[in-house]
Structure formats: structure tokens, C-alpha cells
């Protein structure tokens, strides 16, 4: 089974590429065939994070149709089991993908045969970024314990949330209903979901049910990165509780990653942090997150096998 994990966070500099790169190395070290894809279109730098200076091929070759399949632009890394699709050397206008180009890429990603695929997403909440969240099995949000970063995470969560809602209400009559509703509500406010569900229930009870289930099936995980000693240790927990109580979302807090000045040193020397400083608090935090990813993947597999067995019966 393929596990696609999207790493995003809204704000730049919160450590998305750092987390993605190190997770890739950890998963590969545990014998999992892992692929990192740098979909930070326009701001790709994941290759540097894992110590590859000049990738020969990159996503731009796929998008410009120089190569047919994504498999042709997968490059091996110095770490066994770890592969990379770089986003570097993109032509400068690639950040604004055409619809067809985007769809071609989105369809190709789930066809790759790797055990884990990690999508390193760019900052911002543009359409392009959110689409990549939609093709993944799990969404991992990275924030720092700063109001700016937290604000952007919430914005991103709401954008994904709204996209899901639009996706469920895709038919013509519901589209008009949703537009009217959004006009009246001006953003996702306190009683947004409760109102939406109750109005939808009056219109079409079955659709309301589907909506509720779809939103609950979103699988959000949260990491607080660059966590310093003076920061609240339970900040992530509080954020997860808020999302659960007010957006009816399942969001699990996966822990803090301690701040370490040596992250800077590692990135400057172009050696992955987890390899340069494996015996640090931060490295331990990263390994714990890797454990969480593998546990989640395992549970998902078990769940799916159970479902398949039910179908056979």
C-alpha cells in the first residue's frame, strides 16, 4: 500500500522542508522505500536539505512534457531506499501551473510505486497547494509557536476545509446553496459548520450526513517545530482541541520538535540534520514523529484489510 503524506503549514520558514527531508531519511533508514517530492513550485530547495546540490532532472521536465512519466525524473540519493523528485531548476513561471499541467501531475503522483511518498508543499494557500493536500492520505501541518505561523496554519486548514465542502456540494443546485450560504457567513466563523449542517439537513438530509462524514474523514496531524523551552508545551494540543470543537475536525497533535541552533549549521553544511547530529533532543523528537507516521500507516493498512475482508464476507 502507498502512503502519501503531505507536509504543509502555510507560512514560509516554519520548517516544512526540514521535516520532510528528515522524515524521508528516517523512513528510508527503517527500510521503507520512500520518495520525497518537492512540490514547492517556485521555491524548491528540498534537494539541498538532503545534500544534493544539482539535481539533473526535475519536475519542470515532467511539466514541460520532456519526459512522459514521473518515474523518469526520480533520482536516487546518497541514502539507500530514499529517492527524490526535485522541484529545482524549474522555469520561473512554473509556480503558476495551468489546469491541465496540474491535473497531469496530480494524477501521476498516486501511480508511483513507493511505500511512502512525502510531498513537501510550498507556503501559502493557493489552489495549487491545496490540490496536493487533496491527493494525500494524511496531512501534516508544521507550525512554529509564533502567532504568525499559527495564523497561517489556521488559514490553510480552513482553505482545505472549504475545498472539501465545495467538493461535496459539487452539483448545480448545491453550488447555488453554498454560494448563498458563504455570502451570508463571510468566512468560517464560530457556528459555520453547525449552521451549514442544519441548513443542509433541511434541504437534503442525506447530503448533510455525507458532509459530516467527509469532514470527519479528514486526517490532520500537527507538529510544533522550533519549540523552545519557554514555549507552552501543550500549544499544539490546544490547537488540536480548537479544531475538534469548532470545526469538527479530527486533528492529532504529534508533538514538539525542539529548537536547535545546529539545524542552521547542518543546513549550511548541506548535510541532513538527522545524520549530522543524531544524538540531540531534536533528532529524538524527529524519530518520534517518524514512529507516529509508521504507526498511522500500519493502522490504516490494518483498517483497510479489515474492510476488504468484510467485503469478501
Amino acid at each position: 500500500m502507498r502512503h502519501i503524506l503531505a507536509v504543509g503549514g502555510g507560512k514560509g520558514g516554519s520548517g516544512k522542508s526540514f521535516i520532510s527531508g528528515n522524515m524521508g531519511i528516517l523512513l528510508a533508514a527503517r527500510g521503507k522505500r520512500t520518495l520525497l517530492i518537492d512540490v514547492d513550485l517556485g521555491g524548491a530547495n528540498l534537494h539541498t536539505m538532503i545534500g544534493i546540490s544539482y539535481p539533473r532532472v526535475s519536475l519542470s521536465d515532467f511539466i514541460s512534457k520532456d519526459v512522459e512519466s514521473l518515474d523518469d525524473i526520480v533520482i536516487p540519493t546518497a541514502v539507500p531506499n530514499l529517492f527524490l523528485i526535485s522541484g529545482a531548476q524549474n522555469s520561473l513561471d512554473i509556480a503558476n501551473l495551468h489546469y491541465q499541467q496540474k491535473m497531469r501531475l496530480l494524477k501521476a503522483i498516486p501511480k508511483l510505486s513507493f511505500e511512502y511518498i512525502i510531498l513537501d508543499l510550498g507556503a501559502g494557500t493557493s489552489f495549487n497547494t491545496i490540490d496536493f493536500f487533496m491527493v494525500s492520505n494524511y496531512c501534516l501541518f508544521v507550525t512554529t509557536p509564533e502567532p504568525t505561523s499559527i495564523e497561517n496554519v489556521y488559514r490553510l486548514i480552513r482553505a482545505i476545509y472549504l475545498r472539501k465542502i465545495k467538493y461535496v456540494l459539487n452539483e448545480d443546485d448545491f453550488k447555488a446553496f453554498l454560494d448563498g450560504f458563504l455570502d451570508r457567513h463571510k468566512g468560517i466563523k464560530l457556528d459555520f459548520l453547525a449552521d451549514l449542517l442544519s441548513m443542509l439537513h433541511r434541504k437534503d438530509p442525506e447530503k448533510a450526513m455525507i458532509m459530516k462524514q467527509t469532514l470527519q474523514s479528514l486526517n490532520f496531524k500537527l507538529i510544533v517545530n522550533q519549540h523552545r523551552k519557554q514555549d507552552r508545551p501543550d500549544l499544539g494540543q490546544l490547537m488540536a482541541t480548537l479544531a475538534r470543537k469548532h470545526l469538527a475536525l479530527k486533528m492529532d497533535f504529534w508533538g514538539n520538535v525542539s529548537f536547535d541552533d545546529r539545524v542552521h549549521t547542518a543546513i549550511c553544511s548541506k548535510v541532513p540534520f538527522i545524520q549530522k547530529y543524531p544524538y540531540t533532543r531534536t533528532a529524538t523528537d524527529l524519530r518520534e514523529i517518524c514512529d507516529s507516521i509508521m504507526l498511522l500507516a500500519e493502522q490504516t493498512e490494518e483498517f483497510q484489510y479489515a474492510q476488504q475482508e468484510l467485503q469478501f464476507e
Partner: protein, 213 residues
């Protein structure tokens, strides 16, 4: 999902109706930390008005629940409106332990396959063999070795599990009591050794040690 102002005080504070004043105080404190003006977690989650609404509602909920009399009134009101069940107020009702018999009957009736590990099976076999030894007055190391080999457990496995050196385990089986550091060691090692494949060890320990005195 309910509108915020239609939620009960318990839902707002994440409590159950059986909550006691200390729980209520804790829940209020946690909620304040989450919703207050300086809260990092919620500052960008709500706007000014929403925060005011929530904070005033939290205070209202806290004041109504922390006072025993007003809590009782509020509970009665909820029961009348059918929002909570009368039993929910009884703190003992929620933590009632499940009796082992009930669990067993549930298993029998639902025919959940009991997982039997290899370990369990061999333990059962070993118990059977050991039972036969109970007729004897004394038990030797050779008897024990025979059973151990019968149930297919190696000394290395036992050593792994008990962290006792294989040489000591061999000494137990060869009746070489002096190879062990002391009588006390002999007794405790023997007990650990037996425990790794038998359920009840004391009668055998006793019969084995009879020869040592």
C-alpha cells in the same frame, strides 16, 4: 453538531454531568487558557466578537456549575428538557467495572477466537508433565530438563528471557549446586527458570531444594 449557544454548559467545558467542583475548576482554567485574549492557540482562530461570546459563555457556565445548588437546578432543567439522562449525574454509574464473568460470557456468545500463542500451548504441556512429578517426593534437574526439552524450549531462550547465564541454568539441570554463587541464588534462579515454562512453580521449587539442605 450544535450551535455554540445551544450547547450545554457541560459541552462547553468538556465535562460530564457527574463532574465535581475540582473538575469544574480545572476545566474552566483549561478553557480560559485556550480562549483568553493572549492565548497563542486561539488568537487567530476567532475574531474579537466570537472571543467575547465564548468567554462570557464560559464564565456563565463556570458560575452556574461551581455552585452546588445552582448546578442541581441546572441539571434538573436539563433532565426536564431531555438533554441528559438522570443516571448521568451519578458518578459511580460511569466507572462501573466490567465483571470478568460478563466479559467471558460476551466472548463465548460472540465466539471471538481466543488467540493461543505457541507459548501458551507449551506452557500447558509443561504443566501436564510437571503435574505427574508431584507424586515424587523429590525432583531432580534431569526431570526438569526432560520436560523442558519436551516442550521445545532451549536454555538460550530461557536465558534471553530471564537474563540468567546459561551456565547457571545448566548447573540447575545438572544438579551442580555449588556452581551457583549461593543457596539464595539457586532458589531464585530456579524459580525464574521454572516460571519461563510453567504456571505454578512453588511445589517444584520445594521438591527440588529438598536435596540441597
Amino acid at each position: 453538531m450544535k450551535q455554540f449557544d445551544q450547547q450545554t454548559y457541560y459541552e462547553i467545558l468538556d465535562l460530564t454531568p457527574a463532574a465535581k467542583p475540582p473538575d469544574i475548576r480545572d476545566a474552566y482554567r483549561t478553557a480560559l487558557e485556550m480562549y483568553q485574549d493572549e492565548s497563542l492557540a486561539s488568537y487567530s482562530f476567532f475574531d474579537e466578537d466570537e472571543r467575547k461570546t465564548i468567554l462570557s459563555k464560559l464564565e456563565e457556565a463556570f458560575l452556574a456549575l461551581i455552585d452546588t445548588d445552582s448546578k442541581a437546578d441546572y441539571d434538573q432543567d436539563l433532565i426536564r428538557r431531555g438533554l441528559i439522562n438522570k443516571d448521568a449525574l451519578d458518578p459511580t454509574a460511569q466507572h462501573e467495572p466490567i465483571l470478568i464473568d460478563v466479559l467471558k460470557r460476551f466472548r463465548r456468545e460472540n465466539r471471538v477466537p481466543v488467540i493461543r500463542s505457541k507459548n501458551l500451548k507449551s506452557r500447558e504441556m509443561a504443566d501436564e508433565h510437571l503435574n505427574n512429578l508431584l507424586n515424587h517426593d523429590v525432583i531432580t534437574g534431569a526431570d526438569l530438563r526432560k520436560i523442558r526439552i519436551n516442550v521445545n524450549i532451549s536454555l538460550d531462550q530461557i536465558s534471553d528471557e530471564t537474563k540468567i547465564r546459561t551456565t547457571y541454568l545448566e548447573a540447575i539441570e545438572n544438579d551442580e549446586f555449588d556452581k551457583l554463587p549461593s543457596r539464595f541464588h539457586l532458589k531464585s534462579f530456579l524459580r525464574a527458570y521454572l516460571k519461563s515454562f510453567a504456571s505454578d512453580v512453588e511445589p517444584y521449587v520445594e521438591r527440588y531444594l529438598k536435596r540441597v539442605e
